[in-house]
């Protein structure tokens, strides 16, 4: 740790302990910290150094665990929101799919109706064609009969 940080550590300890601390005492805690900010936390997590430290550490622990709970709750809420959005999207897709399906079924129905009408028309034309063929055949037979008589 740099000297300016060590000076601040010494000053803070003096305020908290109400006295100067020995170099050995300071080094004992300062060694486990890389800088002044870490030292401030270490003072209270290394219990026994400052009376009343447990109260401070308990408050910090309470905050950290509450913060984790809130984080978990936020993650669940975000997940729920994402699922809800996905559900809305899927419902919209389903609705769009239904619309496309109904349009295609309607087209299919129209085509099937047209096909039925075309078949009926075709059957009518075949019947008419057969009728005309028979009429022509009868006419031809009748004409041939007349030619034989004349001959």
């Amino acid at each position: 740790m740099i000297q300016s940080d060590l000076d601040r550590c010494e000053l803070l300890v003096r305020y908290l302990l109400g006295r100067d601390c020995s170099k050995e005492e300071l080094t004992q805690i300062a060694d486990s910290a890389n800088n002044y900010k870490e030292f401030r936390i270490r003072l209270f997590t290394s219990l026994g150094w400052v009376s009343g430290a447990k109260q401070v550490a308990d408050k910090w622990v309470s905050f950290v665990s509450r913060s984790d709970d809130e984080k978990d709750l936020n993650e669940v809420l975000h997940a729920l929101e994402a699922i809800s959005q996905e559900q809305s999207k899927l419902e919209a897709d389903l609705q769009e799919g239904n619309k496309i399906l109904m349009d295609k079924l309607s087209d299919l129905d129209k085509v099937a109706t047209m096909q039925i009408e075309a078949r009926e028309r075709l059957a009518e034309m075949r019947a008419l064609l057969t009728k005309y063929r028979h009429a022509i055949a009868n006419q031809v037979n009748s004409n041939q009969g007349k030619e034989i008589k004349n001959a």
Binding site: R8, Y15, K37, I41, F44, W60, V64
Partner: protein
């Protein structure tokens, strides 16, 4: 009454900033001891929020 300069020093040592005003400094001067003032600052929401990542690292 506690010394103004000591309270001001605690602000910079613990909250990393000067006191908001003289009125705040004077109000703190009526505390029982400098240690009480320091502990109150260490337990403040401001200190906890400013040092959140360090607290999580050392306490979990």
């Amino acid at each position: 009454m506690l010394e103004r300069k000591d309270i001001a020093q605690l602000y910079t040592l613990i909250l990393d900033r000067p006191a908001e005003s003289d009125a705040v400094l004077n109000e703190k001067r009526t505390a029982g001891s400098l240690k009480d003032v320091a502990l109150e600052m260490f337990m403040s929401e401001e200190f906890i929020h400013n040092n959140e990542s360090l607290l999580k690292r050392f306490l979990t």
